[in-house]
Symmetry: C2
Subunit: 137 residues, 2 copies
C-alpha cells in the first residue's frame, strides 16, 4: 500500500494525513468496508477526520481505479482495495459476509455479439449468492 501512496503522489495528489490514513485503513485483501466503517477506523488514528473527507477520498480512489465500489445489497456501498486483481464476489444471503472469488474463464466472453445490442461492453460484474457455512448451521 506504500506503493499506492507513491503512485498517488506521482499523480499529483497532495498528501495529507487524512488521505494517508484512509489509504492505510483500506490495506489488505478481503477488505470490504463501508464508508462509515472506513471513517470509524480512520478516526481511531486521526480522531477529528470528517465523514465528508472520507467520502471525498474514497471517491477519488475509485476514480483513479485504485479501489472498486461494491454494492451487493442496496444498502451502504462497500470499498474494495483489491482493484488490481480482477475478481468477483460471493455474498452470504444470511449475514452479508463477502468473499473475493475467481470464477473460471472470462465472464465477458459469455455475452455473444448479438446480445450486446451495439454496446461497447467493457466489464462484467458477477455476484454469487448463497448461505455461508456459519449461517447454514
Amino acid at each position: 500500500m506504500s506503493d499506492l501512496l507513491e503512485r498517488l503522489r506521482g499523480r499529483g495528489w497532495r498528501l495529507t494525513s487524512q488521505r494517508r490514513v484512509v489509504a492505510e485503513v483500506l490495506d489488505g485483501e478481503h477488505v470490504h468496508l463501508t464508508a462509515d466503517e472506513v471513517h470509524a477506523r480512520a478516526a481511531e488514528r486521526l480522531p477529528e477526520i470528517s465523514r465528508a473527507t472520507v467520502y471525498n477520498t474514497l471517491g477519488e480512489l475509485v476514480t483513479l481505479g485504485e479501489v472498486v465500489e461494491v454494492s451487493t445489497d442496496g444498502r451502504a456501498k462497500r470499498y474494495d482495495p483489491n482493484a488490481h486483481h480482477p475478481h468477483q464476489h460471493l455474498v452470504c444471503t444470511g449475514c452479508g459476509a463477502i468473499r473475493d472469488v475467481h470464477p473460471r474463464g472470462n465472464p465477458l466472453s459469455d455475452l455473444p455479439a448479438e446480445q450486446r445490442f451495439g454496446f461497447a461492453v467493457v466489464q462484467a460484474e458477477v455476484t454469487y449468492r448463497g448461505l455461508c457455512p456459519d449461517c447454514a448451521g
Copy 2:
C-alpha cells in the same frame, strides 16, 4: 399480466385498485422502473395512490417472486417484472439505460467448488457494463 392478477388472487391477495394499477404499470419486457417512476405512472391512473403503497406492493411482488429487484448503480432500486425468464443485465455507463440479456451457459457453473468456500451458492447475478450506441456518439 392479467394472469399475474389471477395468480395473486389465487395466493389470497385482496385485489385493490392500487395493487391492480401497480401491477399494470409493471407490465412488459425491458421494464426497469424505480419505485418513484412506478409511483408517477400509477398516479396518472389513480391520482391519490401513496408512495408507501407503491413500496408495499413492490415489496410483496418481490417476495412472491413475481418481480425482481435490480440495483445496478447504488442509487434507487429498479423493479423488473420479467421474473419468470431468467436473464442478466447490460447497463450503459453513460446514460444508465438497461437491457435484459441472455449470456451463454450458466454463470453459476463457472464457480469451481474450491472457490465456494463452503457456501451453498444458489444464484449468480451478472451486470455487463459499457457505452450504448447513443452514448458512444
